[in-house]
Protein backbone atom coordinates (compact mmCIF):
# COMPACT_ATOMS: atom_id res chain seq x y z
CA UNK A 1 0.00 0.00 0.00
CA UNK A 2 1.87 3.09 -1.24
CA UNK A 3 -0.84 5.72 -0.91
CA UNK A 4 -0.14 7.65 2.33
CA UNK A 5 -3.79 8.72 2.53
CA UNK A 6 -4.92 5.09 2.36
CA UNK A 7 -2.30 3.99 4.90
CA UNK A 8 -3.39 6.66 7.34
CA UNK A 9 -7.07 5.89 6.81
CA UNK A 10 -6.48 2.17 7.36
CA UNK A 11 -4.54 2.67 10.57
CA UNK A 12 -7.19 5.01 11.95
CA UNK A 13 -10.11 2.87 10.80
CA UNK A 14 -8.68 -0.37 12.18
CA UNK A 15 -8.04 1.22 15.56
CA UNK A 16 -11.54 2.72 15.65
CA UNK A 17 -13.18 -0.48 14.40
CA UNK A 18 -11.60 -2.56 17.16
CA UNK A 19 -13.01 -0.20 19.79
CA UNK A 20 -16.42 -0.02 18.12
CA UNK A 21 -16.60 -3.80 17.70
CA UNK A 22 -15.72 -4.35 21.38
CA UNK A 23 -18.40 -1.87 22.42
CA UNK A 24 -20.94 -3.49 20.08
CA UNK A 25 -20.07 -6.98 21.31
CA UNK A 26 -20.74 -5.99 24.92
CA UNK A 27 -24.02 -4.42 23.81
CA UNK A 28 -25.31 -7.46 21.92
CA UNK A 29 -24.45 -9.75 24.83
CA UNK A 30 -26.17 -7.61 27.44
CA UNK A 31 -29.15 -9.46 28.96
CA UNK A 32 -31.04 -6.20 29.28
CA UNK A 33 -30.58 -5.37 25.57
CA UNK A 34 -31.42 -8.93 24.53
CA UNK A 35 -34.63 -8.92 26.60
CA UNK A 36 -35.70 -5.62 25.03
CA UNK A 37 -34.93 -6.85 21.51
CA UNK A 38 -36.79 -10.07 22.27
CA UNK A 39 -39.89 -8.19 23.46
CA UNK A 40 -39.89 -6.09 20.30
CA UNK A 41 -39.35 -9.12 18.05
CA UNK A 42 -42.19 -11.01 19.74
CA UNK A 43 -44.50 -8.04 19.33
CA UNK A 44 -43.61 -7.85 15.64
CA UNK A 45 -44.25 -11.58 15.17
CA UNK A 46 -47.59 -11.38 16.99
CA UNK A 47 -48.63 -8.41 14.87
CA UNK A 48 -47.65 -10.26 11.71
CA UNK A 49 -49.71 -13.24 12.80
CA UNK A 50 -52.77 -11.08 13.61
CA UNK A 51 -52.55 -9.34 10.24
CA UNK A 52 -52.40 -12.62 8.33
CA UNK A 53 -55.27 -14.05 10.39
CA UNK A 54 -57.35 -10.94 9.65
CA UNK A 55 -56.55 -11.18 5.92
CA UNK A 56 -57.52 -14.82 5.85
CA UNK A 57 -60.74 -14.35 7.80
CA UNK A 58 -61.66 -11.64 5.26
CA UNK A 59 -61.15 -14.13 2.45
CA UNK A 60 -58.01 -12.40 1.19
CA UNK A 61 -54.91 -14.38 0.17
CA UNK A 62 -52.80 -15.31 3.19
CA UNK A 63 -50.12 -17.82 3.98
CA UNK A 64 -52.40 -20.46 5.57
CA UNK A 65 -53.82 -22.04 2.37
CA UNK A 66 -50.30 -22.07 0.92
CA UNK A 67 -49.05 -23.73 4.10
CA UNK A 68 -51.75 -26.38 3.86
CA UNK A 69 -50.72 -27.12 0.27
CA UNK A 70 -47.05 -27.16 1.22
CA UNK A 71 -47.71 -29.57 4.08
CA UNK A 72 -49.62 -31.91 1.77
CA UNK A 73 -46.77 -31.78 -0.74
CA UNK A 74 -44.24 -32.46 2.00
CA UNK A 75 -46.20 -35.50 3.18
CA UNK A 76 -46.46 -36.79 -0.38
CA UNK A 77 -42.71 -36.36 -0.87
CA UNK A 78 -42.11 -38.18 2.41
CA UNK A 79 -44.33 -41.10 1.41
CA UNK A 80 -42.53 -41.29 -1.95
CA UNK A 81 -39.16 -41.46 -0.16
CA UNK A 82 -40.44 -44.13 2.21
CA UNK A 83 -41.58 -46.18 -0.78
CA UNK A 84 -38.17 -45.68 -2.42
CA UNK A 85 -36.45 -46.80 0.79
CA UNK A 86 -38.71 -49.84 0.94
CA UNK A 87 -38.04 -50.71 -2.71
CA UNK A 88 -34.28 -50.43 -2.09
CA UNK A 89 -34.55 -52.77 0.91
CA UNK A 90 -36.56 -55.30 -1.09
CA UNK A 91 -34.03 -55.15 -3.92
CA UNK A 92 -31.24 -55.70 -1.38
CA UNK A 93 -33.04 -58.68 0.14
CA UNK A 94 -33.70 -60.15 -3.32
CA UNK A 95 -30.04 -59.86 -4.27
CA UNK A 96 -29.06 -61.61 -1.03
CA UNK A 97 -31.54 -64.41 -1.71
CA UNK A 98 -30.09 -64.82 -5.20
CA UNK A 99 -26.61 -65.29 -3.77
CA UNK A 100 -25.50 -68.93 -3.69
Amino acid sequence: MNDPFAASLRASLEAWERQAAAYWDSLIRSPDVLRRVSRQANLTLDTYRRITQTLESAGLPGPAPQQDGARALYLLERIAHQLDDLAARIADLESRLDEP
Binding site: F5, E17, G69, R71
Partner: protein, 365 residues
Amino acid sequence: MNPDLFEGGARLWDAGLRAVWQQYTAAGESLREQGRALAGQTPASVIYAEGRARVLHYHPLVEPPHPVPLLCIPSMINRYYVMDLTPERSLVRFLLRQGIDVYMLDWGTATPVDRYRTLDEAIAGMLRRVVGAIRRASGQPAVSLLGYCMGGMMAAVYSALFPQDVAALVNLAGPINYHDDGIYSVWTRPEWFDADRLVDTLGNIPANVLNTTFHLVRPTDQLIQALNYWERRDDPAFLRTFAALHLWLNDPTPFPGEIFRKYVKALYQQNQLILGQFRIGERRIDLGTVAAPALTIAARRDHIAPWGSVAVLHDLIASQDKELIVLESGHIGMVVGSDAHAKLWPRLAGWLAARSGGDSSSPPT
Protein backbone atom coordinates in the same frame (compact mmCIF):
# COMPACT_ATOMS: atom_id res chain seq x y z
CA MET B 1 -22.60 5.19 23.50
CA ASN B 2 -19.17 6.52 24.31
CA PRO B 3 -19.18 10.03 22.71
CA ASP B 4 -15.47 9.74 21.80
CA LEU B 5 -16.21 6.59 19.83
CA PHE B 6 -19.06 8.28 18.00
CA GLU B 7 -17.03 11.39 17.23
CA GLY B 8 -14.07 9.27 16.13
CA GLY B 9 -16.31 7.47 13.64
CA ALA B 10 -17.71 10.76 12.36
CA ARG B 11 -14.21 12.15 11.86
CA LEU B 12 -13.18 9.05 9.88
CA TRP B 13 -16.33 9.36 7.79
CA ASP B 14 -15.53 12.94 6.86
CA ALA B 15 -11.83 12.17 6.36
CA GLY B 16 -12.48 9.87 3.40
CA LEU B 17 -14.42 6.86 4.63
CA ARG B 18 -17.62 8.22 3.10
CA ALA B 19 -16.12 8.09 -0.42
CA VAL B 20 -14.70 4.63 0.22
CA TRP B 21 -18.09 3.37 1.43
CA GLN B 22 -19.94 4.93 -1.50
CA GLN B 23 -17.63 3.25 -4.02
CA TYR B 24 -17.98 -0.07 -2.23
CA THR B 25 -21.76 -0.02 -2.06
CA ALA B 26 -22.02 1.20 -5.66
CA ALA B 27 -19.92 -1.81 -6.72
CA GLY B 28 -22.13 -4.29 -4.84
CA GLU B 29 -24.17 -5.65 -7.75
CA SER B 30 -21.15 -5.72 -10.05
CA LEU B 31 -19.19 -7.67 -7.43
CA ARG B 32 -22.02 -10.15 -7.00
CA GLU B 33 -22.22 -10.54 -10.77
CA GLN B 34 -18.49 -11.30 -10.95
CA GLY B 35 -18.90 -13.67 -8.02
CA ARG B 36 -21.67 -15.58 -9.78
CA ALA B 37 -19.37 -16.20 -12.74
CA LEU B 38 -16.65 -17.60 -10.47
CA ALA B 39 -18.32 -19.44 -7.60
CA GLY B 40 -19.15 -23.13 -7.78
CA GLN B 41 -17.64 -23.54 -11.25
CA THR B 42 -15.70 -26.78 -10.83
CA PRO B 43 -17.17 -29.20 -13.39
CA ALA B 44 -19.54 -31.72 -11.85
CA SER B 45 -22.44 -34.02 -12.67
CA VAL B 46 -25.62 -34.32 -10.63
CA ILE B 47 -25.87 -37.94 -9.48
CA TYR B 48 -28.83 -37.60 -7.14
CA ALA B 49 -31.59 -35.08 -6.47
CA GLU B 50 -34.24 -34.93 -3.81
CA GLY B 51 -36.62 -32.02 -3.43
CA ARG B 52 -34.52 -28.89 -3.71
CA ALA B 53 -31.29 -30.70 -2.85
CA ARG B 54 -28.84 -32.33 -5.25
CA VAL B 55 -25.59 -34.22 -5.03
CA LEU B 56 -22.74 -33.10 -7.27
CA HIS B 57 -20.00 -35.48 -8.31
CA TYR B 58 -16.96 -33.47 -9.35
CA HIS B 59 -15.12 -34.70 -12.38
CA PRO B 60 -11.79 -36.19 -11.27
CA LEU B 61 -8.68 -34.15 -12.05
CA VAL B 62 -6.40 -37.16 -11.74
CA GLU B 63 -7.20 -40.68 -12.90
CA PRO B 64 -7.95 -42.89 -11.20
CA PRO B 65 -8.89 -41.11 -7.98
CA HIS B 66 -8.54 -42.82 -4.61
CA PRO B 67 -11.36 -45.38 -4.37
CA VAL B 68 -13.13 -44.16 -1.21
CA PRO B 69 -15.38 -41.20 -2.10
CA LEU B 70 -15.69 -38.05 0.01
CA LEU B 71 -19.05 -36.38 0.65
CA CYS B 72 -18.86 -32.69 1.62
CA ILE B 73 -21.81 -31.60 3.78
CA PRO B 74 -22.12 -27.82 4.06
CA SER B 75 -24.28 -25.92 6.52
CA MET B 76 -27.97 -25.62 5.66
CA ILE B 77 -27.74 -21.89 6.40
CA ASN B 78 -25.26 -20.90 3.70
CA ARG B 79 -24.50 -21.97 0.16
CA TYR B 80 -22.31 -24.97 -0.56
CA TYR B 81 -20.00 -23.08 -2.92
CA VAL B 82 -17.92 -21.64 -0.09
CA MET B 83 -15.96 -24.88 -0.56
CA ASP B 84 -15.64 -24.16 -4.28
CA LEU B 85 -15.30 -20.40 -4.17
CA THR B 86 -13.19 -19.62 -7.25
CA PRO B 87 -11.00 -21.81 -9.44
CA GLU B 88 -7.92 -20.52 -7.55
CA ARG B 89 -9.47 -20.70 -4.08
CA SER B 90 -11.41 -23.93 -4.14
CA LEU B 91 -11.08 -26.57 -1.45
CA VAL B 92 -12.94 -28.97 -3.75
CA ARG B 93 -10.51 -28.41 -6.63
CA PHE B 94 -7.53 -28.79 -4.29
CA LEU B 95 -8.84 -32.15 -3.05
CA LEU B 96 -9.52 -33.28 -6.63
CA ARG B 97 -5.93 -32.46 -7.55
CA GLN B 98 -4.76 -34.69 -4.71
CA GLY B 99 -6.80 -37.55 -6.13
CA ILE B 100 -9.78 -37.41 -3.76
CA ASP B 101 -13.10 -38.44 -5.35
CA VAL B 102 -15.30 -35.53 -4.22
CA TYR B 103 -19.09 -35.32 -3.94
CA MET B 104 -20.99 -32.29 -2.64
CA LEU B 105 -24.41 -32.05 -1.07
CA ASP B 106 -26.08 -28.83 -2.23
CA TRP B 107 -29.09 -28.32 0.05
CA GLY B 108 -30.66 -25.97 -2.49
CA THR B 109 -33.09 -23.20 -1.58
CA ALA B 110 -35.73 -24.16 0.95
CA THR B 111 -39.31 -23.59 -0.22
CA PRO B 112 -42.53 -23.61 1.86
CA VAL B 113 -42.63 -27.41 1.43
CA ASP B 114 -39.33 -27.68 3.33
CA ARG B 115 -40.79 -25.88 6.32
CA TYR B 116 -42.03 -29.29 7.54
CA ARG B 117 -38.83 -31.23 6.92
CA THR B 118 -37.33 -32.34 10.22
CA LEU B 119 -33.73 -32.63 11.33
CA ASP B 120 -34.35 -36.32 12.01
CA GLU B 121 -35.55 -36.83 8.43
CA ALA B 122 -32.69 -34.76 7.02
CA ILE B 123 -30.03 -36.88 8.76
CA ALA B 124 -31.54 -40.36 9.02
CA GLY B 125 -33.57 -40.11 5.80
CA MET B 126 -32.19 -37.77 3.20
CA LEU B 127 -28.51 -37.97 4.17
CA ARG B 128 -28.77 -41.77 4.28
CA ARG B 129 -30.23 -41.78 0.75
CA VAL B 130 -27.48 -39.42 -0.41
CA VAL B 131 -24.80 -41.70 1.04
CA GLY B 132 -26.58 -44.67 -0.57
CA ALA B 133 -26.52 -42.94 -3.95
CA ILE B 134 -22.77 -42.26 -3.60
CA ARG B 135 -22.10 -45.84 -2.53
CA ARG B 136 -23.91 -47.08 -5.63
CA ALA B 137 -22.18 -44.56 -7.92
CA SER B 138 -18.72 -45.34 -6.57
CA GLY B 139 -19.17 -49.05 -5.87
CA GLN B 140 -17.64 -48.49 -2.43
CA PRO B 141 -19.17 -49.84 0.78
CA ALA B 142 -18.44 -46.71 2.79
CA VAL B 143 -18.01 -42.98 2.22
CA SER B 144 -15.85 -40.40 3.99
CA LEU B 145 -17.78 -37.40 5.34
CA LEU B 146 -16.49 -33.83 5.55
CA GLY B 147 -18.99 -31.59 7.33
CA TYR B 148 -18.55 -27.84 7.59
CA CYS B 149 -20.25 -25.83 10.36
CA MET B 150 -23.73 -27.29 10.90
CA GLY B 151 -22.74 -29.97 8.39
CA GLY B 152 -19.97 -31.04 10.80
CA MET B 153 -22.52 -31.73 13.49
CA MET B 154 -24.66 -33.66 10.98
CA ALA B 155 -21.67 -35.73 9.82
CA ALA B 156 -20.77 -36.61 13.42
CA VAL B 157 -24.37 -37.59 14.23
CA TYR B 158 -24.57 -39.64 11.02
CA SER B 159 -21.34 -41.44 11.97
CA ALA B 160 -22.90 -42.45 15.28
CA LEU B 161 -26.13 -43.59 13.60
CA PHE B 162 -24.72 -45.48 10.63
CA PRO B 163 -21.09 -46.40 11.39
CA GLN B 164 -20.98 -48.99 8.61
CA ASP B 165 -21.51 -46.23 6.01
CA VAL B 166 -18.62 -44.03 7.18
CA ALA B 167 -15.01 -44.62 6.12
CA ALA B 168 -13.69 -41.46 7.80
CA LEU B 169 -15.09 -38.34 9.44
CA VAL B 170 -13.86 -34.76 9.11
CA ASN B 171 -15.49 -32.13 11.28
CA LEU B 172 -14.61 -28.70 9.97
CA ALA B 173 -15.83 -26.11 12.50
CA GLY B 174 -18.95 -28.06 13.40
CA PRO B 175 -20.10 -27.19 16.92
CA ILE B 176 -20.71 -30.13 19.25
CA ASN B 177 -20.93 -28.29 22.57
CA TYR B 178 -23.47 -25.48 22.23
CA HIS B 179 -23.15 -23.96 25.69
CA ASP B 180 -20.20 -21.71 25.11
CA ASP B 181 -19.56 -17.97 24.82
CA GLY B 182 -20.21 -17.88 21.07
CA ILE B 183 -22.62 -15.15 20.05
CA TYR B 184 -25.22 -17.56 18.69
CA SER B 185 -25.23 -19.48 21.99
CA VAL B 186 -25.90 -16.18 23.77
CA TRP B 187 -28.58 -14.99 21.34
CA THR B 188 -30.54 -18.25 21.37
CA ARG B 189 -30.85 -18.61 25.15
CA PRO B 190 -34.42 -19.49 26.12
CA GLU B 191 -34.68 -16.42 28.37
CA TRP B 192 -35.00 -14.25 25.27
CA PHE B 193 -35.25 -16.45 22.21
CA ASP B 194 -38.59 -18.06 21.39
CA ALA B 195 -37.88 -20.49 18.55
CA ASP B 196 -41.45 -21.83 18.63
CA ARG B 197 -42.98 -18.40 18.10
CA LEU B 198 -40.58 -17.68 15.25
CA VAL B 199 -41.23 -20.95 13.39
CA ASP B 200 -44.97 -21.01 14.10
CA THR B 201 -45.28 -17.49 12.69
CA LEU B 202 -42.84 -17.47 9.78
CA GLY B 203 -42.43 -21.14 8.80
CA ASN B 204 -39.01 -21.16 7.20
CA ILE B 205 -36.66 -18.57 8.66
CA PRO B 206 -36.33 -16.05 5.82
CA ALA B 207 -32.92 -15.59 4.22
CA ASN B 208 -32.92 -11.84 4.85
CA VAL B 209 -33.53 -12.40 8.58
CA LEU B 210 -30.56 -14.76 8.70
CA ASN B 211 -28.41 -12.37 6.67
CA THR B 212 -29.20 -9.52 9.02
CA THR B 213 -28.22 -11.60 12.05
CA PHE B 214 -24.90 -12.53 10.42
CA HIS B 215 -24.10 -8.87 9.79
CA LEU B 216 -25.20 -7.87 13.29
CA VAL B 217 -22.42 -9.97 14.82
CA ARG B 218 -19.84 -7.35 13.79
CA PRO B 219 -21.44 -4.71 11.57
CA THR B 220 -18.34 -2.48 11.57
CA ASP B 221 -16.46 -5.21 9.69
CA GLN B 222 -18.29 -3.98 6.60
CA LEU B 223 -16.22 -0.80 6.79
CA ILE B 224 -12.98 -2.80 6.78
CA GLN B 225 -14.29 -4.78 3.81
CA ALA B 226 -15.07 -1.51 2.04
CA LEU B 227 -11.52 -0.31 2.62
CA ASN B 228 -10.06 -3.65 1.46
CA TYR B 229 -12.05 -3.30 -1.75
CA TRP B 230 -11.13 0.35 -2.26
CA GLU B 231 -7.39 -0.24 -1.77
CA ARG B 232 -7.21 -3.19 -4.14
CA ARG B 233 -10.02 -2.53 -6.60
CA ASP B 234 -7.51 -2.53 -9.48
CA ASP B 235 -5.97 -5.87 -8.51
CA PRO B 236 -7.79 -8.50 -10.65
CA ALA B 237 -6.53 -11.51 -8.65
CA PHE B 238 -7.69 -10.00 -5.37
CA LEU B 239 -11.02 -8.96 -6.85
CA ARG B 240 -11.87 -12.50 -7.98
CA THR B 241 -11.76 -13.95 -4.47
CA PHE B 242 -13.27 -10.80 -2.98
CA ALA B 243 -16.21 -10.83 -5.41
CA ALA B 244 -16.98 -14.52 -4.87
CA LEU B 245 -16.80 -14.14 -1.10
CA HIS B 246 -18.93 -10.99 -1.25
CA LEU B 247 -21.53 -12.99 -3.15
CA TRP B 248 -21.43 -15.87 -0.68
CA LEU B 249 -21.73 -13.58 2.33
CA ASN B 250 -24.84 -12.00 0.81
CA ASP B 251 -26.46 -15.15 -0.54
CA PRO B 252 -28.02 -16.99 2.40
CA THR B 253 -30.84 -19.47 1.97
CA PRO B 254 -34.01 -19.76 4.06
CA PHE B 255 -33.61 -22.14 6.99
CA PRO B 256 -36.27 -24.90 7.01
CA GLY B 257 -38.58 -24.13 9.94
CA GLU B 258 -38.83 -27.47 11.77
CA ILE B 259 -35.12 -28.11 11.38
CA PHE B 260 -34.43 -24.66 12.85
CA ARG B 261 -36.78 -25.41 15.76
CA LYS B 262 -34.97 -28.61 16.76
CA TYR B 263 -31.51 -27.19 16.02
CA VAL B 264 -32.11 -24.26 18.36
CA LYS B 265 -34.10 -25.99 21.10
CA ALA B 266 -32.37 -29.37 21.34
CA LEU B 267 -28.84 -28.22 20.61
CA TYR B 268 -28.36 -24.50 21.34
CA GLN B 269 -30.79 -24.32 24.25
CA GLN B 270 -30.58 -27.80 25.79
CA ASN B 271 -27.13 -28.86 24.57
CA GLN B 272 -28.45 -32.39 24.17
CA LEU B 273 -25.70 -33.69 21.89
CA ILE B 274 -22.86 -33.37 24.37
CA LEU B 275 -25.09 -34.53 27.22
CA GLY B 276 -25.88 -37.75 25.37
CA GLN B 277 -29.59 -36.87 25.24
CA PHE B 278 -29.92 -35.96 21.56
CA ARG B 279 -32.28 -38.22 19.63
CA ILE B 280 -32.79 -38.83 15.94
CA GLY B 281 -36.08 -40.66 15.68
CA GLU B 282 -36.05 -43.29 18.42
CA ARG B 283 -32.28 -43.48 18.61
CA ARG B 284 -30.20 -41.65 21.18
CA ILE B 285 -26.97 -40.33 19.72
CA ASP B 286 -23.86 -41.42 21.59
CA LEU B 287 -20.83 -39.82 20.00
CA GLY B 288 -18.72 -42.13 22.14
CA THR B 289 -19.61 -44.93 19.74
CA VAL B 290 -17.98 -43.20 16.75
CA ALA B 291 -14.97 -45.32 15.87
CA ALA B 292 -14.22 -44.18 12.30
CA PRO B 293 -10.92 -42.39 11.66
CA ALA B 294 -11.66 -38.78 12.55
CA LEU B 295 -10.12 -35.39 11.92
CA THR B 296 -11.44 -32.42 13.90
CA ILE B 297 -10.51 -28.93 12.72
CA ALA B 298 -11.26 -25.88 14.84
CA ALA B 299 -10.22 -22.22 14.61
CA ARG B 300 -9.22 -20.01 17.53
CA ARG B 301 -10.84 -16.85 16.11
CA ASP B 302 -14.07 -18.59 15.17
CA HIS B 303 -16.93 -16.53 16.67
CA ILE B 304 -19.65 -18.76 15.16
CA ALA B 305 -18.38 -22.13 16.37
CA PRO B 306 -15.88 -21.39 19.16
CA TRP B 307 -12.89 -23.68 18.86
CA GLY B 308 -13.43 -25.47 22.17
CA SER B 309 -17.02 -26.33 21.18
CA VAL B 310 -15.71 -27.97 18.01
CA ALA B 311 -12.57 -29.57 19.45
CA VAL B 312 -14.56 -31.44 22.11
CA LEU B 313 -15.53 -33.99 19.45
CA HIS B 314 -11.94 -35.20 19.45
CA ASP B 315 -12.23 -36.15 23.13
CA LEU B 316 -15.72 -37.65 22.90
CA ILE B 317 -15.28 -40.17 20.11
CA ALA B 318 -13.85 -43.68 20.49
CA SER B 319 -11.77 -43.57 17.29
CA GLN B 320 -8.23 -44.91 17.73
CA ASP B 321 -7.16 -43.06 14.60
CA LYS B 322 -7.98 -39.43 15.34
CA GLU B 323 -6.35 -36.04 14.99
CA LEU B 324 -7.15 -32.52 16.14
CA ILE B 325 -6.01 -29.39 14.29
CA VAL B 326 -6.54 -25.96 15.85
CA LEU B 327 -5.91 -23.08 13.45
CA GLU B 328 -5.25 -19.39 14.10
CA SER B 329 -8.06 -18.21 11.84
CA GLY B 330 -11.77 -17.51 11.77
CA HIS B 331 -14.82 -19.52 10.77
CA ILE B 332 -14.75 -18.57 7.09
CA GLY B 333 -11.02 -17.97 6.80
CA MET B 334 -10.38 -21.62 7.65
CA VAL B 335 -12.12 -22.60 4.41
CA VAL B 336 -11.24 -19.80 2.00
CA GLY B 337 -8.29 -17.92 3.53
CA SER B 338 -4.85 -17.86 1.94
CA ASP B 339 -3.42 -19.48 5.10
CA ALA B 340 -5.94 -22.30 4.82
CA HIS B 341 -4.96 -22.79 1.21
CA ALA B 342 -1.26 -22.93 2.05
CA LYS B 343 -1.34 -24.92 5.30
CA LEU B 344 -4.64 -26.59 6.10
CA TRP B 345 -5.69 -27.94 2.72
CA PRO B 346 -2.48 -29.96 2.15
CA ARG B 347 -2.80 -31.52 5.64
CA LEU B 348 -6.48 -32.27 5.08
CA ALA B 349 -5.86 -33.77 1.64
CA GLY B 350 -2.97 -35.88 2.96
CA TRP B 351 -5.05 -37.12 5.88
CA LEU B 352 -7.93 -38.07 3.58
CA ALA B 353 -5.70 -39.65 0.94
CA ALA B 354 -4.14 -41.91 3.56
CA ARG B 355 -7.63 -43.15 4.45
CA SER B 356 -9.14 -43.33 0.97
CA GLY B 357 -7.56 -46.51 -0.31
CA GLY B 358 -5.26 -46.90 -3.32
CA ASP B 359 -1.76 -45.50 -3.20
CA SER B 360 -1.75 -42.78 -0.53
CA SER B 361 1.91 -41.90 -0.86
CA SER B 362 1.35 -39.65 -3.85
CA PRO B 363 -1.60 -38.41 -5.88
CA PRO B 364 -2.68 -40.95 -8.49
CA THR B 365 -1.68 -40.06 -12.01
